[in-house]
């Protein structure tokens, strides 16, 4: 059952990472949110046969990853976690899209290109979202949403869901631990106990969520979630946002690899 306990630690890892203090972490959460949103828009706006155009956009996550001093491995692991879904979505493309084209003397089906494109796009978007959370933290992110005048209920919903996921996982871990201690020779949970275990879990998490909510109310919680003060947006924040947006637009309108390539060859010539 160690893996479940592990995943709780992992669950909260993003929050732990978000507490560091690097250049990126110190940026205003709203700016990071806007940057991420514009990044996502640009990535998604590329056509389905586009692959080369996406390549310059790798620059953004790599830069953030480096500047925010985030560990690469756990982030990659999380991206891999969603990869089965992405592959599930894209895998049928090569079957349906049988048109072919020729590259470097070999024939390729266009389906594979769209598949690759989907893979890249999803990878980039998921990475961007993860990086946003890992450099900002859910609480401050919610603060940013509130600045954008997103209705309180939605923000609260988001936050509490995020909180309760870890509560649920902790409850699961405890139940499974109790089970495995009294069923030492089994691998996993025996079929006969599934029903009662799942039912117990449901009830217990309801109960727990209820009590946590009560504890929140006892401490003056009235629907507004305060996660500490957020500083004013300063000039450097705007510069960060502006810089990236310009870069994204450039990457979208010009074929940067080609441009740089021709520039270099031009110089050499």
């Amino acid at each position: 059952m160690a893996n479940i306990a592990d995943s709780i630690y992992n669950m909260r890892l993003l929050d732990d990472l978000a507490r560091q203090e690097t250049v990126i972490h110190k940026l205003h959460p709203l700016v990071k949110l806007l940057t991420t949103v514009s990044y996502l828009t640009v990535v998604v706006s590329f056509g389905r046969y586009e692959v080369a155009g996406l390549l310059p956009l790798f620059f953004y996550p790599v830069m953030v990853l480096a500047l925010a001093e985030l560990p690469v491995k756990p982030i990659l692991l999380r991206i891999l976690l969603v990869s089965p879904f992405i592959i599930g979505i894209g895998i049928l493309n090569p079957v349906f899209d049988q048109q072919t084209f020729v590259l470097a003397g070999r024939e390729f089906s266009r389906g594979w290109v769209t598949f690759l494109s989907i893979l890249l796009k999803s990878g980039l978007t998921v990475t961007a979202a993860l990086l946003l959370i890992a450099t900002t933290g859910m609480d401050r992110l919610a603060g940013a949403l509130r600045i954008l005048k997103v209705p309180r209920v939605f923000v609260l919903q988001l936050l509490l869901t995020y909180r309760y996921i870890s509560v649920l996982m902790e409850e699961v871990a405890r139940t499974l631990r109790a089970y495995s201690l009294r069923a030492p020779k089994q691998k996993g949970v025996h079929r006969s106990a599934w029903g009662s275990l799942a039912g117990q879990l449901l009830l217990r998490t309801f109960d727990r969520a209820q009590r946590i909510y009560e504890a929140m109310c006892l401490r003056g919680f009235s629907g507004e979630y305060h996660s500490g003060e957020i500083n004013k947006i300063c000039r450097w924040d705007w510069a960060y946002l502006g810089g990236w947006v310009v870069f994204f637009i450039l990457a979208r309108t010009y074929n940067l690899p080609l441009l740089i390539g021709s520039l270099l060859t031009g110089v050499i010539r």
Binding site: R12, D15, D139, S166, R211, E214, L218, R219, G220, G228
Partner: protein, 251 residues
């Protein structure tokens, strides 16, 4: 200071499954009193505290804080005055760091961040876990969690402190510290515990509960030595008041 008075009149409570956990309790607690609530497991202590805090609402009777009855409407005001430490600290800690958890209450009262920080650090200092402030609550030991839960209530600076088994799962030193802390809290305090020695040292008044009813209510030093009463309520005379186990001499 009549507004710190706490009054309970003819309180009844049924759990949704029909279990009658509180059956007609009445008492009143004045400002500055320290009251111990004792009773066997399942006697209804935690339920009573929940009723006081307005987490549960009585099916009959009423609870008044000061001159205000505890109802859904008056809750925000009541809760600013009363602080409660839950029996299970896991129920109380839900933020990512101990610091954020302790800051949760003050932030809800819209204090500025400087004041919040002052209160948080102060509360953590008092319970002696300042060094844990950046840790995640779920990674703490049972006793550390309890200390954090106590700090999370202290940071709100309540007028009435309600604690459900504050000394359970604490090591002797931490237990001492909690007791010191309770002693230094000058306002009203209401404590349930199975740690009768602690009740004996800390509380002037004791209410004994048996099966949802008040079995006795009076001066601690008289109630806790009443072996007959204690036995009937599933309790025992505290060790400090029993004869010396080695030489058998009277204390």
């Amino acid at each position: 200071m009549s507004h710190h008075k706490l009054e309970v009149r003819n309180l009844h409570f049924n759990y949704p499954d029909g279990h009658n956990a509180v059956k007609g309790m009445s008492f009143s607690i004045h400002h500055g009193e320290s009251v111990g609530i004792i009773g066997a497991n399942g006697a209804g202590k935690s339920t009573l505290l929940m009723l006081l805090m307005g987490v549960l609402f009585p099916s009959q009777g009423e609870v008044c804080v000061g001159d205000v009855q505890v109802t859904k409407k008056t809750l925000p005001m009541i809760r600013q005055r009363l602080g409660m430490v839950f029996q299970d600290p896991d129920d109380q800690l839900f933020m990512n760091t101990v610091y954020d958890d302790v800051a949760f209450g003050p932030r809800n009262y819209k204090l500025n961040e400087k004041e919040v920080e002052k209160r948080v650090l102060n509360a953590l200092e008092v319970v002696g876990i300042l060094h844990l402030k950046d840790r995640a609550p779920f990674k703490l030991s049972g006793g550390e969690k309890r200390a954090a839960a106590i700090a999370s209530v202290l940071s709100m600076q309540p007028d009435i402190l309600v604690m459900d088994e504050p000394s359970a799962a604490l090591d002797p030193k931490s237990r001492r510290r909690v007791m010191e802390l309770l002693r230094s809290f000058k306002h009203t305090k209401i404590v349930t515990s199975h740690d009768l020695d602690m009740i004996y040292e800390m509380c002037d008044r004791t209410i004994v509960i048996k099966n949802g009813e008040i079995a006795a209510d009076g001066v601690t030093s008289e109630i806790l030595v009443n072996a007959e009463l204690m036995d009937a309520c599933g309790l025992e005379v505290p060790l400090a008041l029993q004869n010396c186990p080695v030489c058998g001499s009277k204390k």
